[in-house]
Each structure stands twice: as C-alpha cells, then as structure tokens.
C-alpha cells in the first residue's frame, strides 16, 4: 500500500467524491426529465411491466399459428414440426378440411411450452409458413404443468409483435390461473 492509502482518509474522500458525482449527475438527469426534457435520464433502469427493452426481430418468443383469410389455421397437419421438434412438445391431431382443395387441417394443435426449447426448428420445417415465433411474448409462467400447454385456439388468437418488438396481443393467461 502506498503511504497515502494507509491514511485511508484521502481514499475515502476520493470514493465519496465519485459517488457524489454520480448522485448529482443522476439527480440533474431526474430533475431535467421531470421538467419535460424527455431525453434526459437519471437511471439506466427499464421499468419492466410498463417499459420494455426493445427486442430483436429475430427473437424467438411464444409461438402462434398463422390464420388463412377465412380464419382457419394455415396449418395442413403435415406433422413436419411435430417430427422435427427435438423436445417433442408439439401434439397434432389431423382432421379433414371442409375445402376439398386443402387436404387436412389440425383438429388439435397443442404446444407444451414447458417442454419447448425454443430452437425454432418447427418454424424452419413448416412448408406452409403456418407456425411462427414472432409474438414477442416471453411471459408464460404458470402454477402447473397443465397451464403450460397452449391449445390451437389460443395459438391462433395471437398476433405478431409490433415493429418495436412489443407484443400486440394480450399475454394469454394460463388455464390454471384466475384472470
């Protein structure tokens, strides 16, 4: 230790000066922000539920099923995603589509998000561009394993995220939780 450091007092003063400089710089940022200067910030905090960090467009978030123009799923129940899924979290039951030009459609399309590893292979594998992971929704905690299973209806209702990455559709509340 240097002699000055042994006295401690000077080191204390320099430390206090550093934190005090932070205090006054941040305080002026807070004051200018509250006076209407929106660019001024006093803290690096992002106040999460109201504010979100801008997400990358490549983010793989909660899945959604793309709709046709008539509102039915674009999915043709070819089982490609179910086959490619490394976590076996997709469960499809196929049925006939009323339109004879379209061979099949899913009667059930369940994704167990609790098993999903968010690899995005299902999106890559889909020949119909029927499943996407662009909702921007990352909040899907639930109290039970049952609550992690998203059905066809829930997945069809989801909208893609906005240009800033914010989720457009409301975050689905799992079945085991009261709204």
């Amino acid at each position: 230790m240097r002699v000055l450091q042994r006295f401690y007092l000077i080191e204390v003063m320099s430390g206090v000066a550093l934190t005090a400089a932070h205090f006054f710089r941040n305080m002026s940022g807070h004051v200018r922000h509250s006076l209407g200067q929106k660019g001024a910030r006093g803290a690096v905090t992002i106040q999460y539920p109201e504010e979100r960090r801008p997400y990358s467009p490549r983010l793989r978030s909660l899945h959604r099923l793309v709709q046709r123009e008539d509102g039915s799923p674009r999915c043709v129940a070819c089982m490609m995603c179910e086959t490619v899924c490394p976590a076996h979290c997709i469960y499809i039951v196929a049925t006939e589509h009323p339109n004879p030009e379209i061979e099949k459609m899913p009667a059930r399309f369940d994704i167990d998000v609790g098993k999903c590893v968010f690899c995005g292979y299902c999106v890559e594998a889909c020949p119909e561009d029927a499943i996407r992971m662009d909702t921007g929704i990352l909040e899907f905690a639930s109290y039970s394993r049952r609550g992690m299973v998203y059905t066809k209806e829930a997945l069809l209702a989801l909208q893609p995220a906005g240009p800033d990455g914010r989720p457009q559709s409301t975050i689905p509340i799992p079945a085991d939780r009261e709204p």
Partner: protein, 365 residues
C-alpha cells in the same frame, strides 16, 4: 394565564425537537433508499401507491410501518422476557432524548418573553448528549443478551466494544471544541461560532477545529452502528443483535440507527458547522464584512436561523448517507484498531494542539 403560557412554550420547544427527530428519522428510510438508488444509477422503490399516486415512493415508509405493525411479534422460548421486551424501547428512547439539548435557533423574543429555541436548556449539554448516546448501546446489549442466541450475543458484544472505542474518540475530540469556545453548553458553543475570524471567516468549529471535525465525524459514524462500522449487525457474518426480533421491535432497532444518524448530524452541525448561525447574520440583520448592512425583523432572523439549522442537518445527513453507501465495511479488528490506535491518539493530539494555540495566542482568540 402566564403559567399556562409558560407550560405551552415548554411543550412547544420539546415538541419541536421531538417531532423533528422522529419525522426526520421516519423519512430517512425513504431518503436512504432513494439516495442510494440515485448514487447507483437506479430509480429506487417507487411502487407503493395510494389510488395510483406514487409520489416518488414516499408511501413506502408508511407501507413498511404497516407491514411491521401487522407482523407476528415473535419471542424465543428461552429469551429473558422482560429484557427482550425492554431492549428496543431503551435503544430508541435514548436516541430520541439525545436531541433535547441541541439548539435549533437563537433566543426568540415574543410578547416580552425570551424563549431559547432548544428543548432543554442545559449548561452541560454536550455531556448530556453523549451520556444519552452511550446509554443507547445498553438497549443493543440487552437485546443481544436477552435473545438467548449466540449470534445476537456476539452482536451485542461487538456493539459494546465499538461503542466504547467510538465514544472515547468522540469525547476526546470535542474537548478541543469545548476548550476553544469555553463552554459545555451547546447554545454557548453555537453562539461562539457566530464570531468572525480575521474579520471575514465565520468562526465555525470546522475552521477552528478541522482535525476534531474529521475525528468526530468518523467516530460519529461508528456510533450510529451503520456501514462502514456495522460489525454489531455484520450482515454477511452474524446478522447482529436483533436476529431474534421481528415486527415493530425489529423496526425500532432500525429506526434507532436512523435516529442516531439524525442526532450525530445535529451534533456535528452544532459543534462544527455553526449550528443555527447564518454567515454574517447577527440579531439585527445581515452585517457583511465589507460594511454593507441589511436590517431584518427579529422574527425573520429567527426563521432564517431555524432554516439554516435544518439545511445544515440535512446536508450532514446527506453526507453521512453518502459515506454509508460508498465505503465497504471494516472488519472487527480493523474498526478496533482505527478507534484505539487512530482516532483516540489523534484526538489527544488535537487537545494538545488546541491548548498550545490557545496558550500562544492568548485566551480565546
């Protein structure tokens, strides 16, 4: 009628001092959270709200109080029932009464009466404050002993050891101030700081006794038992003397730390920062060293003085918080060494130096 007025005046003086400490200590919890947050580039607690109004998180102290009052009041089976109940009250009581002899303004003259703005006029004010501050550690020791918990006992022991090593340095460091201003009465000491050195520097304690100021503030921080001198609590090792306490009794221990911070800030203000003195403000108004004068009515002068006292105490509290949120904590042996081998000899040296200066420059210069 006159007797009634006298009682009312005494009541008012005590109420001001008492409510000042209690309210400042209550709001210090919020100040501490916010100040530390702003120092660390954060925002700090701001979620408690009433009808959607958050008011910068000012409801958090209220929320904390409600939480603590409604929590289970637990007592260990083998605890000493009486001492365990008594300890938090002792701890917070002596912190609160210590503020009584700190003057918050000069004599107020209203309707032919002279009211000293001080809760209790004591000619041994300095000794009284230190007696009360030292007695406060009994609550901590009681808590440590009566909890029937080894860690609590360890915390209480450490608090006692820390208090002794800090109090000695505090007592010895203010001897220089007492020698310089020639009184143990805090009011007299503050009055003495109104004089001017070389005709233009206010003769505050920090100017006349800089070494004592450093020693006093360091030992004062130790006396508040907060970081960097938090070995009675020792969050990372023993969790301290209040380990068995819960609910509002735990809250009272937390509050007594903040009350002591307020008292130390008030004492530092009175002894070293000129107390209620505003530079160049005398009883008739401003009298600047370059000859200009600005006469002011008596009430305004008193109001300015009380305001100056509050501003100085706030600034001192800000500084104490700044230190608390800047420095890492001392180890137990480091704190002991600092107290006994650093601060204590330095304060003795300060007494000797002050005596020499007074001897050479003749009387109270």
């Amino acid at each position: 009628m006159s007797a009634l007025a006298d009682v009312g005046i005494v009541f008012g003086r005590v109420a001001f001092a008492m409510l000042f400490v209690v309210n400042v200590a209550a709001i210090l919890g919020w100040v501490e959270r916010k100040q530390s947050a702003i120092m660390q580039d954060r925002i700090g607690a701001n979620r408690a709200s009433i009808f959607g109004f958050r008011v910068l998180g000012l409801f958090h102290p209220i929320a904390d109080a409600i939480k603590m009052l409604t929590k289970e009041d637990f007592m260990p089976a083998r605890a000493d029932r009486f001492l365990f109940q008594l300890a938090p009250f002792v701890s917070v009581f002596f912190g609160l009464v210590a503020f009584a002899s700190i003057p918050f303004g000069d004599t107020l003259r209203v309707a032919g009466r002279e009211i000293p703005l001080q809760a209790v006029t004591l000619n041994v004010g300095v000794l009284y404050v230190f007696a009360m501050l030292s007695l406060g550690v009994y609550g901590v020791m009681m808590a440590g002993w009566s909890s029937a918990n080894n860690y609590a006992l360890l915390g209480g022991q450490r608090a006692a050891a820390l208090m002794i090593s800090a109090e000695i340095a505090i007592g010895a460091s203010i001897m220089g101030v007492v020698m310089w201003y020639g009184s143990l009465d805090l009011m007299d000491i503050v009055r003495g700081q109104g004089a001017l050195l070389f005709g233009w520097i206010p003769k505050w304690g920090i100017v006349t006794q800089p070494l004592a100021f450093v020693i006093f503030v360091t030992a004062g921080i130790a006396a508040t038992k907060r970081i960097p001198f938090d070995m009675p609590e020792g969050e990372s090792e023993i969790i301290g003397y209040f380990i068995e306490y819960s609910g509002m009794k735990f809250g009272m221990f937390l509050m007594s730390d903040l009350v002591e911070t307020t008292v130390i800030a008030g004492l530092t203000t009175s002894l070293f920062l000129g107390g209620w003195q505003v530079p160049y403000l005398v009883a008739e108004g401003f009298l600047f060293p370059w000859g200009a004068a600005l006469p002011l009515p008596h009430l305004l002068v008193v109001l300015l003085q009380v305001g100056a006292f509050i501003v100085k105490v706030s600034a001192m509290i800000f500084f104490l918080m700044l230190v608390r949120w800047t420095l890492p904590r001392f180890r137990y042996d480091q704190a002991m060494r600092l107290g006994w081998l650093g601060l204590f000899p330095l304060s003795i040296l300060n007494i000797v130096l002050t005596g020499l200066v007074l001897l050479l420059w003749g009387g109270r210069a």
